[in-house]
């Protein structure tokens, strides 16, 4: 499913170069749930964006679904994300001013599908997450828990096979964190591959987590 082969990522910061990732190699099988653990600045987010094709590695090779995503040009990697990857951000990152339904269909707007098709897809996801009754409400007027569910519905709108979650519980209280973990568990049950970057201890002894990978200063330990 995911294969990283001697991946390096450097950022130039003034004169000196920061090595955010060095010599990272790993493999994640289909349907696996993997937690990426590490202190702040250890390179978790960087790794996720490389896997999503949002940035390119300085060297090394990244294959996702047997496609070498690190070599894809920008527009193809975007299409790849649209087709296969769902994203859950820390702080939800909903688009303020749009309502729930518009936020949920946002990933597929450029896909040139008829609006009613998108709305049907969105309805199914919103019903599964119990937010269908709020479909026309501005996301700024939702509770934290509802916002979180909108973010999950949005990540699922394209029926992804891989979900990348970056610190999904960073801004949540204990109750919402538990709720989120339940949603992730259901996704795992449905066969989706999960990669969760976090330093939240809640994730470290969950039964459905298959593996914990620890990053330290950009290296796997």
């Amino acid at each position: 499913m995911i294969r990283l082969h001697h991946v390096y990522k450097r950022f130039a910061q003034g004169d000196e170069a920061i090595e955010a990732l060095s010599d990272v190699s790993l493999e994640i099988a289909q349907g696996e749930c993997v937690v990426l653990r590490g202190a702040s600045g250890s390179g978790k987010s960087t790794l996720l964006s490389l896997i999503a094709g949002l940035a390119q590695p300085s060297s090394g090779e990244i294959r996702v679904l047997d496609r070498e995503i690190s070599k894809l040009p920008e527009h193809l990697s975007a299409l790849f994300r649209r087709a296969h990857i769902g994203f859950i951000f820390q702080k939800f990152h909903l688009i303020p001013g749009l309502n729930v339904e518009e936020n949920v269909i946002a990933p597929l707007i450029p896909a040139n599908l008829p609006l009613h098709v998108l709305q049907e897809k969105a309805r199914a996801k919103m019903e599964a997450l119990c937010i269908a009754s709020k479909a026309k409400r501005d996301v700024r007027r939702l509770s934290g828990g509802e916002q979180q569910r909108v973010a999950i519905a949005r990540a699922l709108i394209n029926d992804p096979v891989l979900i990348l979650a970056d610190e999904p519980t960073a801004n949540l209280d204990a109750k919402l964190s538990t709720e989120l973990i339940e949603h992730l568990y259901m996704l795992k049950q449905s066969g989706v591959t999960l990669l969760i970057a976090t330093h939240d201890p809640l994730f470290f002894d969950l039964a459905f987590v298959d593996r914990i990978i620890e990053l330290k200063n950009g290296r796997i330990v």
Partner: protein, 395 residues
């Protein structure tokens, strides 16, 4: 082209303009205002140029005035035949005109002597006059007067005729045979059109003389040569050609509009900086939104498309608004305030209506000065933001 428009992206762009609310409204207003100003100035300049050209066409090709001791005096009619004999001269017309001081009202009337049967006048006169009786004018000694003259005379109890006093102290009565249309009132207000022999009598001029002489030539290219020949033959004659007039009109017009344009360009520039600042500076929310959309699977081109729709809708509606407002302002309201910038021109010629003339070239120029420039000014920063790694949203 239309088939390629992704309706949902367009809808997203419109929604995004709505979400930006105040910023969109501000840019729309400033941009419309800018286009309105640009369009107004171009339209006024264009209308004045048109008016100028029509006026110039009616001016005589050559006007000959005789100067003695630096003062203009009458010309002997005997010169008419001599001048007519020059090669290239088509027509020579002696003119009789001057001013008549009407003491009771303390005003000057402009008197122009005409032969009503002379071809150039006959048709024009009936066109310009409200009520016009050719017979009265010629046979019984009548005149055509402007609205203003008529009013002044009526106030002084002359309702259908007027007694001129000749320099010899004799009375010379003329009937009012017609009044000029009020739509040329401003030009004809103080005018009295009288038969030539009446003009001679009123001015006390010898019938062997004229006030000045107007010359028409076959080929306008020959004007300078003919002028040279005439002034060599009659050194006391001064020639004013259509070109002299054109140049002096044009100079004043160009000076005024040039002065105005340079001021104007500074304004445009200032406006543009405001617009550019507002339109191109992406707020941190906008940048974040771009980052989110990229992570969600939008291509850079999708984002640029949305921005393109946004700025196109913006620039196009501003263009339409500004342009229509300018049409209304210039042609319906007759450009109050802005018009007075060109006042130097209207000093030479009495106030006039700006003639309606929409130059397609001007519209195209205006369009390309505004719409694509604005789109480029907003697209480039959006493109740059979309190029940046989207990992800002990952923090």
């Amino acid at each position: 082209m239309l088939a390629n428009v992704n309706v949902l992206l367009l809808d997203y762009a419109l929604g995004s303009l709505k979400r930006q609310g105040g910023k969109s409204v501000f840019i729309l207003i400033v941009l419309s205002l800018l286009i309105f100003l640009l369009a107004s100035v171009l339209m006024i300049a264009d209308a004045i140029k048109l008016e100028l050209n029509t006026t110039l066409k009616t001016l005589p090709q050559i006007t000959l005035q005789r100067f003695v001791a630096g003062k203009q005096t009458n010309v002997s009619l005997s010169r008419v035949d001599t001048i007519l004999a020059f090669n290239g001269v088509e027509r020579v017309m002696p003119r009789v005109w001057g001013y008549y001081y009407f003491k009771p009202a303390g005003v000057n009337f402009s008197i122009v002597g005409v032969d009503a049967y002379e071809e150039p006048y006959k048709k024009r006169l009936s066109e310009l006059t409200r009520t016009f009786d050719l017979l009265t004018l010629e046979k019984e000694g009548g005149m055509i007067v402007g609205e203003g003259v008529k009013n002044v005379l009526q106030e002084n109890y002359y309702s259908d005729f007027f007694n001129f006093i000749t320099p010899k102290g004799e009375r010379y009565p003329l009937k009012i045979a017609g009044v000029f249309h009020s739509d040329i009132a401003l030009e004809s207000n103080d005018l009295m059109l009288v038969p030539k022999q009446a003009a001679y009598a009123i001015f006390g001029m010898s019938p062997e003389e004229a006030t000045d002489i107007v010359v028409h030539v076959n080929n306008p290219v020959e004007i300078p040569t003919i002028v040279q020949k005439i002034t060599e033959r009659y050194p006391d004659l001064r020639a004013i050609t259509q070109d002299d007039l054109r140049i002096s009109y044009q100079n004043i017009f160009d000076y005024k509009s040039g002065f105005f344009l340079s001021l104007f360009i500074v304004c445009v520039f200032a406006f543009f900086i405001v617009i550019y600042d507002k339109a191109s500076a992406l707020s941190s929310e906008e940048r974040r939104e771009i980052g989110i959309l990229k992570a969600l699977g939008w291509r850079m081109s999708d984002i640029v498309h949305v921005k393109f729709y946004e700025s196109f809708v913006m620039a196009f509606s501003a263009f339409i608004t500004g342009f229509c407002a300018a049409l209304f302002f210039v042609y319906v309201l007759q450009a109050p305030l802005l018009r007075s910038v060109f006042i130097g021109y209207s000093e030479l010629k009495p106030p006039f209506r700006l003639p309606f003339s929409v130059d397609v070239k001007m519209i195209v120029l205006l369009f390309f000065l505004s719409v694509p420039v604005y789109i480029a000014a907003t697209l480039i920063p959006a493109w740059k933001a979309a190029c940046l790694d989207a990992d800002e949203v990952m923090r």
